[in-house]
């Protein structure tokens, strides 16, 4: 905890008290001393009070999303026990004033994460000049998030070679879309089912929502291996390209196995959508002994 630019208020306070002392010494009046004591008390509380306020302040996040994309704003809601000026540091964000209150949502605070990553907490720079606004004090606090915030990389330029082969001979079969398969039957709707698969006739017959049940798609999954370099900037660029590649593959309806290295070790697991890919890439780290600048994205069948 430290004061913000304390020199001017401190010098002003000392100067004011010195002048009061001079007046008291020249006038000898008890009232001057009484008034000087009041001014001294106000300056004391005005200059040192914010430190006590900050020391007792509690800040907690009441609502935060689980996913976001680097470079785009994400809003979390926090509550505090007293009025504060809040500036997110890690990840960075916009400065705002948070007030205690009974509103259910809490105070919105906008984060603007610049890089991918997974954040269990946010580091905030909280400041207060309570109760008199004479001197600002600031303090850094780490506030746990209700759920980890996955910051996916930006979507970069796709890096993967086109897997569509030359079809001069007309022998390359068009792979069906993942959500398109060979109908096998109908089953009751479950949350998350594609709405395009609704079977309206069966729904009318059964009296509840029914969806088509398809056989497994015919497409074989592709394996995208992302090797991140050690350099953070370069690593970010590689992750962005990897996301671009994965997004392209998803748009083509390709099943994808993503191979990355996380803090727990190598991970090879399917990813089904951009959100899942973003989360995996957010967690990805450079493998031990990785080259500083050269990363790689390999797409293999």
């Amino acid at each position: 905890m430290r004061p913000t630019r304390p020199l001017a208020p401190m010098v002003a306070a000392v100067l004011v008290l010195f002048l009061w002392w001079v007046v008291a010494r020249n006038g000898g009046s008890g009232w001057v001393q009484v008034l000087g004591d009041i001014v001294f008390g106000a300056l004391c509380i005005g200059i040192l009070g914010p430190s006590l306020v900050l020391a007792r302040t509690k800040v907690w996040v009441v609502d935060a999303p689980a996913d976001c994309v680097a470079g785009r704003p994400v809003v979390l809601h926090l509550r505090c026990s007293t009025r504060l000026r809040v500036r997110p540091l890690v990840p960075p964000g916009d400065e705002t004033f948070a007030r205690p209150g009974n509103e259910t949502g809490g105070t919105p605070v906008t984060l603007r994460p610049e890089r991918r990553g997974v954040f269990d907490s946010v580091t905030l720079d909280i400041a207060s000049a309570a109760p008199f606004g004479l001197q600002w004090w600031r303090r850094r606090v780490r506030v746990a998030l209700p759920t980890p915030l996955h910051v996916a990389p930006r979507r970069g330029r796709p890096d993967a070679p086109s897997l569509r082969q030359s079809d001069e001979a007309g022998e390359v079969a068009n792979r069906p879309h993942r959500s398109v398969g060979y109908p096998r039957g109908a089953r009751p709707y479950r949350p998350g089912d594609n709405r395009r698969l609704m079977h309206w006739r069966a729904t009318a017959h059964a009296g509840e929502l029914m969806v088509r049940e398809l056989e497994r798609p015919m497409a074989q999954p592709l394996t995208v291996t992302v090797v991140l370099p050690a350099d953070p900037e370069e690593s970010e660029r590689v992750a962005e390209r990897a996301l671009g590649t994965l997004a392209l593959l998803f748009e083509r309806g390709t099943e994808v196995l993503l191979a990355t290295t996380e803090t727990t070790g190598p991970v090879l697991a399917p990813v089904f959508d951009r959100r899942g890919a973003g989360r995996r890439l957010a967690r990805a780290v450079a493998r031990p002994g990785a080259t500083p600048t050269v990363g790689a994205i390999e797409v293999t069948r």
Binding site: V16, R25, S29, L35, A42, G133
Partner: protein, 685 residues
């Protein structure tokens, strides 16, 4: 950044301040400060009203133009401030301008600056300057304030200043409502800090000053120049000697006249006569008597034969006969509250005088007489060399500057032999070898063998006061006690004289003034020591030796006040009020519906088990947690919680019997001490 850049940075206009409340609070703070200055006479009523009106207009103008303040306003403010400063310095340094103190012109200067500044306060820091400048005005007013009525201005200014500061914080933090708890805590903390400093700091002794206070009040000219005046009527009425028929002197005291009749005791009032600001308490001596006739004290050299000193302040006073100005300098300012004798009171050995008139009368015993009556509002300042010799020094006092023979004869004069008194004095001081010890033995003997009383009949005509007192019933008042000591000392060959004036009075820690009332009039003894001059001794009482700290006096006053507090009725009232508030609180927090009661029982049971309900938990979710904690089939919160939620959210009313049953069930589960016997905190979900 170079200096020019730094100055530009400092002078960069701040963001416009939109808070009207902050402006109102700042303006009100300034208004109160101006009112305080007017209340102590530093500003005339017209000046104060004009300043308040102009500042109100200026504040409104500043608010309207806060976004784009016109450039010419800043120029006008700067030029006006320079002109006001030039006028101030011209007024202060010009000789013969009649300026007795710098406070008045300074107040006018600061008020002018505030008026000008009010037209250019677009930003928050400009408003802060206004608040700071108002504190300077309050300081100037406080330096002139001499009574507790000024406290109203202090309280109002402090309250408005606090309001302005809290508004400043609100404006800085984006608005919203301030927390009453926080404000109360801040106020209490501020009061504690201020009180602690007040209790710790010593009194603000006057250490330096260009021109000390001297002001003419309600008095009037005295008919006979140099004569003693200030009798009961007006300050200018000549003093008459006391008589059994009409003991009507200043405040009822008979001593401030040409003679002091010790057979009579005046009827004292409790009127506040004057207030004294001094670095240490002293006896404020008015005059001395050297000639004793058995019942009356008189002065060989009458007051009207005194020398007239014609000088501008400060008037340098000649050294009185027998005085040796070797003590510590002490500055005293006397504020006359009602009216008193035309004697210029002072601590012993006055050396300089700041007086509203250039001429005073000075007699060789050190008595100073004013040429005008000293009525309400009169102020004068005296510098004295207060004797600071220690008992050991006085014991070894010998040689040095001697007392002139004629003066010595006057101060050893006795109207007739006092054989019994002399024998008594010699028997009391038989074991003492020096004057100081002899005198202390005599004072000690008087303290042990005599009694003080104001309620005694006048002595019969012709009776000797000392014989009647020492060999009669030994009951008397200060004049008789001090006269007895004087005569005993003179019978032993020690030069001594009677002094009259006032005791220091009660010390007010807030105003730092000694409050001298009419019944503080007193008589004591001055004893001459070779090499040290006249020393005050009071056989009636002792004088405190040091200036009391305001803090200790305040604590003492508080303790004395607490002793008089009627604790029993107050305690009873407090207990009753607490019970009343408790009942109110219980009634207010008591659940009003059966559903609330069930929910309350569940939460209470959870709290007892160490698992509070989270804000995000519904009652049924919480009930599931409680059921998991208990692990006991007989205690099931969930069904109860479901019924409660059905009632609240599904509007399914239960019959009164079912409601009662629910409450009974909930009560039973809550009351089961063994409900959570399986619970361990580390297994909390």
């Amino acid at each position: 950044m170079n200096i020019v850049g730094a100055v530009r940075q400092a002078n960069r206009p701040g963001p416009p301040e939109d808070s009207i409340r902050l402006r109102v609070a700042s303006g009100a703070t300034v208004f109160v400060a101006i009112g305080a200055c007017a209340s102590v006479g530093e500003l005339t009523r017209a000046q104060a009203l004009g300043a308040v009106a102009l500042i109100a207009v200026g504040m409104a103008f500043s608010y309207r133009t806060r976004s784009r303040p016109p450039g010419w306003v800043k120029v006008v403010v700067a030029v006006g401030a320079v002109a006001a400063s030039v006028r101030f310095f011209h007024e202060v340094v010009t000789p013969g301008a009649g300026v007795t103190s710098v406070e008045g012109p300074l107040t006018v200067l600061m008020t002018e600056v505030l008026v000008l500044h009010s037209f250019h306060v677009p930003a928050r820091r400009d408003l802060m300057f206004s608040i700071g400048a108002s504190s300077a005005l309050m300081a100037v007013a406080g330096a002139q304030a001499i009574d507790l009525r000024f406290g109203f201005y202090v309280v109002a200014w402090s309250a408005l200043g606090l309001w302005a500061l809290t508004e400043m914080w609100r404006a800085a933090s984006g608005g919203g409502r301030a927390s009453p708890v926080g404000l109360t805590a801040a106020f209490l903390a501020m009061a504690t800090a201020a009180g602690a400093v007040f209790l710790v700091l010593p009194a603000p002794n006057v250490a330096a000053g260009a021109a000390f206070l001297a002001k003419e009040g309600l008095g009037g000219s005295i008919g006979v120049p140099g004569a003693l005046a200030g009798d009961s009527g007006t300050p200018a009425q000549l003093a008459r000697a006391g008589s059994p028929a009409g003991p009507s002197r200043v405040g009822g005291y008979l001593g401030f006249a040409d003679s002091l009749n010790t057979a009579l005791r005046g009827a004292f009032g409790n009127t506040l006569v004057m207030q004294v600001r001094a670095q240490r308490p002293s006896y404020w001596v008015g005059k001395t008597f050297d000639t004793w006739d058995g019942q009356n004290w008189t002065q060989v050299q009458p007051a009207h034969s005194t020398r007239r000193l014609n000088e501008l302040s400060p008037i340098v006073l000649p050294v009185a006969d027998g005085d040796i100005p070797l003590g510590q300098p002490d500055l005293q300012t006397f504020y006359i509250a009602s009216f008193t004798a035309d004697l210029v009171f002072h601590a012993e050995s006055a050396s300089e005088l700041w007086f509203p008139r250039p001429n005073v009368f000075f007699s060789r015993d050190g008595t100073i007489v004013s040429p005008i009556g000293l009525g309400q509002g009169s102020v004068y300042t005296v510098e004295s060399q207060v004797p600071s010799s220690s008992p050991d020094q006085l014991r070894t006092a010998s040689g040095g500057i001697g007392l002139p023979v004629s003066v010595q004869q006057e101060d050893l004069q006795l109207p007739h032999p006092y054989p019994r008194v002399q024998a008594l004095a010699e028997s009391i001081t038989a074991r003492d070898h020096d004057t100081y010890d002899r005198m202390q033995s005599l004072i000690s003997w008087i303290g042990r063998h005599t009694h003080y009383s104001l309620d005694i009949p006048p002595l019969p005509p012709g009776a000797d006061t000392v014989d009647e007192f020492l060999f009669g019933n030994r009951i008397g008042f200060c004049e008789q006690i001090s006269t007895s000591l004087t005569v005993m000392l003179r019978s032993l060959g020690v030069p001594a004289r009677e002094a009259v004036g006032y005791v220091p009075g009660s010390y007010d820690p807030i105003t730092d003034l000694y409050q001298v009332h009419a019944d503080d009039a007193h008589a004591w003894v001055q004893v001459w020591f070779p090499g040290y001059g006249w020393q005050d001794f009071d056989p009636t009482d002792s004088v405190p030796s040091a200036n009391p700290a305001p803090g200790s006096v305040a604590l003492h006053d508080i303790a004395a006040a607490l002793r008089h507090v009627p604790w029993f009725p107050l305690g009873g009232t407090a207990v009753f009020a607490t019970l009343f508030l408790l009942v109110l609180w219980v009634r207010r927090t008591r659940p009003t519906t059966w559903a609330e009661r069930v929910a309350r029982y569940a939460e209470r049971a959870g709290r007892r088990a160490g698992r509070r309900r989270r804000p995000s938990e519904s009652l049924s979710e919480y009930a599931r947690v409680l059921d998991r904690l208990t692990g006991n089939e007989s205690t099931r919160w969930y069904p109860l919680a479901s019924r409660v939620e059905e009632n609240i959210y599904g509007h399914r009313e239960c019959s009164p019997d079912v409601q009662r049953q629910m409450i009974r069930l909930a009560k039973g589960i809550r009351g089961s001490r063994r409900s959570f016997r399986h619970y361990a905190p580390n297994r909390a979900p």
